[in-house]
């Protein structure tokens, strides 16, 4: 009676069976070629991506690894009490105050001894001083202030050589060009040779690169403040953007009624990702600094602004991941009497976690390298002192990198690359936790 039944006998004659008897060519050769091509494209894509990474890494590390060492000049210093504490007061406060030039005298004295100069040879002394960092006297002063028991002793102190000397010793300033074009003069080269022969001039691990704050002297400049600032900012970003992003996505994807409004919001959030980050800087300036009166240059504000820039990434990734969880899982949860909330948090979210974490990894990576918005809120700045709280002025690794990249001194070039290495190491450390977590959540079903 039914159509199907009446057609059945007819279809028996034609249809697949006939073809089946003489097996048709299913184009395997062509399809395999396509398959191989497809696979090769995939492999090529991964390889290309990794090659790019390698090339970038190679160029950064190649330029930057030398900055992890630094030229020092060891000199015997006579911590002459009559110079340091002429009035006998050896307290740190007294060391810090008073005539600042007395420390220069200490250095000059020990330099004269090290170079075996005639005490009247002023030119020789100045040439020698040219090799030493201009920050040597403050360094000596804070050294004594920290440990007043040094006063009256004789001690060998490792002074920093200036950035130019450092670059020369490492070979980035070449000696084989005419003196007029050279950044370092013949007389200085002679002194360097002499110091090297005496063993006073040597390379040592550059701890200051990690611990010092900003300085105009490359030999004393470090990413310490920037590191702490970035750390604070990333903490703020992580603490705010991950929960906010995940919570927002859960609402939009699982709870919000599906209508034009939510469409609008979805489009909107996708669109937020395309807003240039400097605009977020403007927003942050208006909202957090001008309106909420949070301090300028503070890592808290930086973190807040970066949170806003990261949110869209996390939300988009999370929503995509939530969408990818099959509905049968939700039904299973609801079917045993779990509330929607429970189903989402117990079953759906864990399955979406890899996507959430990917969003977090990429979002944080982006946030960590972002400079433009920080410019607007005063975080591309020269800051010497460590921030103790996220409300103190700080700078960030990428802004530090940009600032160093614009410095003319040769010694900053390698430090720029070194700072990039530090940033990448920071990134890796930050991501590895997320990557481990992601591995734990990944399962196929």
């Amino acid at each position: 009676m039914t159509e199907a039944a009446s057609r059945l006998p007819v279809s028996r004659l034609g249809g697949p069976e006939v073809r089946a008897i003489s097996r048709i060519d299913i184009g395997l050769r062509r399809r395999y070629a396509a398959e191989r091509r497809f696979r090769a494209y995939g492999l090529a894509a991964v390889t290309i991506a990794l090659c790019f990474l390698l090339a970038l890494f190679g160029s950064i590390v190649g330029k930057g690894y030398t900055a992890f060492q630094q030229t020092r000049i060891a000199m015997m210093v006579d911590f002459d009490a009559s110079i340091i504490a002429p009035d006998g007061d050896r307290s740190p406060a007294a060391v810090l105050s008073g005539n600042a030039f007395r420390f220069d005298d200490l250095i000059a004295a020990s330099l004269q001894k090290t170079l075996e100069l005639d005490p009247d040879d002023e030119d020789g002394l100045y040439d020698g001083l040219d090799l030493l960092s201009k920050g040597s006297a403050p360094m000596l002063r804070s050294m004594i202030a920290k440990d007043p028991s040094l006063i009256g002793t004789k001690r060998s102190v490792d002074f920093y050589a200036t950035g130019d000397v450092d670059s020369f010793v490492k070979g980035t300033i070449r000696a084989d060009i005419p003196e007029s074009q050279r950044l370092i003069k013949d007389k200085h080269i002679a002194l360097i040779d002499k110091l090297e022969k005496d063993g006073a001039l040597h390379l040592a691990f550059n701890t200051g690169l990690f611990t010092n704050g900003a300085s105009t002297r490359p030999e004393m400049a470090g990413v310490g403040v920037a590191l702490v600032g970035s750390l604070y900012m990333m903490l703020v970003v992580l603490v705010l953007s991950l929960p906010l992003g995940v919570a927002g996505s859960i609402y939009l994807e699982e709870f919000a009624p599906k209508n034009r409004w939510t469409d609008l919001i979805e489009v909107n959030i996708n669109n937020l990702a395309a807003v240039p980050s400097i605009v977020y800087g403007l927003l942050g300036l208006a909202v957090f600094i001008n309106f909420a009166h949070l301090p300028r240059s503070a890592s808290l504000v930086g973190g807040l602004v970066l949170t806003l820039t990261t949110l869209p990434t996390i939300i988009i990734a999370t929503r995509a991941a939530l969408k990818a969880v099959p509905p049968s899982i939700r039904e299973a949860g609801l079917g045993v009497g779990a509330s929607k909330m429970q189903t989402v948090f117990h079953h759906v979210l864990p399955l979406a976690m890899p996507g959430v974490l990917t969003g977090t990894i990429i979002g944080l990576a982006h946030a960590l390298g972002e400079t433009a918005p920080l410019l607007m809120i005063g975080m591309k700045a020269f800051i010497v002192e460590y921030p103790t709280t996220p409300l103190d002025p700080a700078t960030a690794l990428p802004t530090q990198i940009y600032m160093w990249a614009t410095e003319p001194e040769r010694a900053f070039t390698e430090r720029t690359s070194a700072a990039i290495i530090v940033l990448l190491a920071f990134l890796l450390a930050m991501n590895s936790l997320a990557i481990i977590l992601r591995r734990a959540f990944e399962r196929r079903w």
Partner: protein
């Protein structure tokens, strides 16, 4: 505000940081000042936002403050602004170290990158493709000039002291006037740069220009004196009107391409922000911007002593704009 907060021109930034660092070392009881870059415009904008805790105290500038900006300042309550002139910035032309020596006249630059130049007595769209077209004796290089971007203060100096001067020297200026342009418009036309890719605006920093010359060995770049000094093993500087740029020639006013540098202080903050007054005075000291100072070592062209003394006196007298 517990500490001095400075923002503004990235040209002034290096000197401001040198002084800030030295100031902090000399005065351990004050917190170290914070120095931001960001550009003159952005710095002045922050500066003119108002007075009070969460505004900056000093704006660095590579050009004098504009009247509109001062008005905006006043409207926001920043009524008393003190101007400090700290010295000069020299602008040099340099090419790859391996290339030939260049001796420019402003006219050469005008002929090389002006939008319209005089050719056989006629104003035409710049036809010169190679430096050798500009002047016999120049190498047979494609013109590739890396000049400061339009938003840079340096650009103004370049236009005024090089292009306009060259324009006048080649009589193109007269031709513009003759074609019926008003004086101001003629000056504009002189400063117009060709847009066919031979003149490349650099909005970034001098390192970018250097990198561009690295990748295009026949390019000519515009640099700050300080930058050149630090890279003279890679760059060869050109003379302008026969004068080789150096701190001395610029300070003496012989080398034509330079501009003054400033910073602006909020007078209202002087009493409130600890160390602000001391900082300004410290900045103006010989040890900071005098001829043997670290700022000069970094490339600042010092102002004559009398000028510096005058600036300090004006500041101490509380002179405002």
């Amino acid at each position: 505000a517990e500490q001095i907060h400075i923002a503004g021109s990235s040209t002034v930034l290096p000197y401001a940081t040198i002084v800030a660092e030295a100031f902090a070392e000399a005065n351990p009881n004050f917190k170290a000042p914070i120095v931001e870059g960001g550009g003159t415009g952005a710095g002045l904008k922050e500066f003119c936002k108002g007075v009070g805790d969460d505004t900056i105290d000093i704006a660095d500038a590579s050009r004098p403050i504009k009247a509109e900006e001062l008005d905006a300042c006043k409207a926001a309550g920043v009524t008393e602004v003190q101007e400090i002139r700290i010295g000069y910035d020299g602008i040099v032309f340099a090419s790859d170290i391996k290339g030939p020596d260049f001796a420019y006249e402003p006219a050469d630059w005008f002929n090389a990158i002006g939008a319209q130049v005089l050719k056989d007595g006629q104003l035409v769209d710049n036809p010169n493709a190679k430096w050798s077209d500009v002047k016999a004796g120049f190498p047979d290089w494609d013109i590739a000039a890396y000049i400061p971007g339009e938003k840079h203060g340096t650009r103004e100096v370049f236009e005024l002291n090089v292009l306009l001067a060259g324009c006048k020297a080649t009589k193109a200026y007269d031709a513009f006037i003759a074609s019926g342009l008003a004086k101001a418009d003629a000056e504009k036309a002189c400063a117009k740069v060709r847009k066919d890719g031979k003149a490349v605006d650099i909005d970034g920093e001098y390192n970018e220009t250097l990198a561009r010359i690295d990748s295009n060995k026949t390019g000519i770049g515009v640099f700050g004196l300080a930058f050149y000094e630090n890279n003279k093993d890679k760059l060869k500087v050109a003379t302008m009107s026969g004068i080789s740029p150096s701190v001395e020639t610029i300070a003496k006013g012989e080398y034509p391409v330079s501009r003054p540098l400033f910073f602006y202080v909020k007078k209202a903050h002087l009493g409130v922000v600890p160390g602000l007054k001391d900082y300004v005075e410290f900045f103006l000291a010989d040890q900071m911007i005098g001829p043997r100072s670290p700022s000069v070592a970094k490339g600042l062209v010092p102002a004559p002593k009398s000028e510096r003394e005058q600036v300090l006196a004006d500041f101490q007298a509380g002179k405002t704009l």
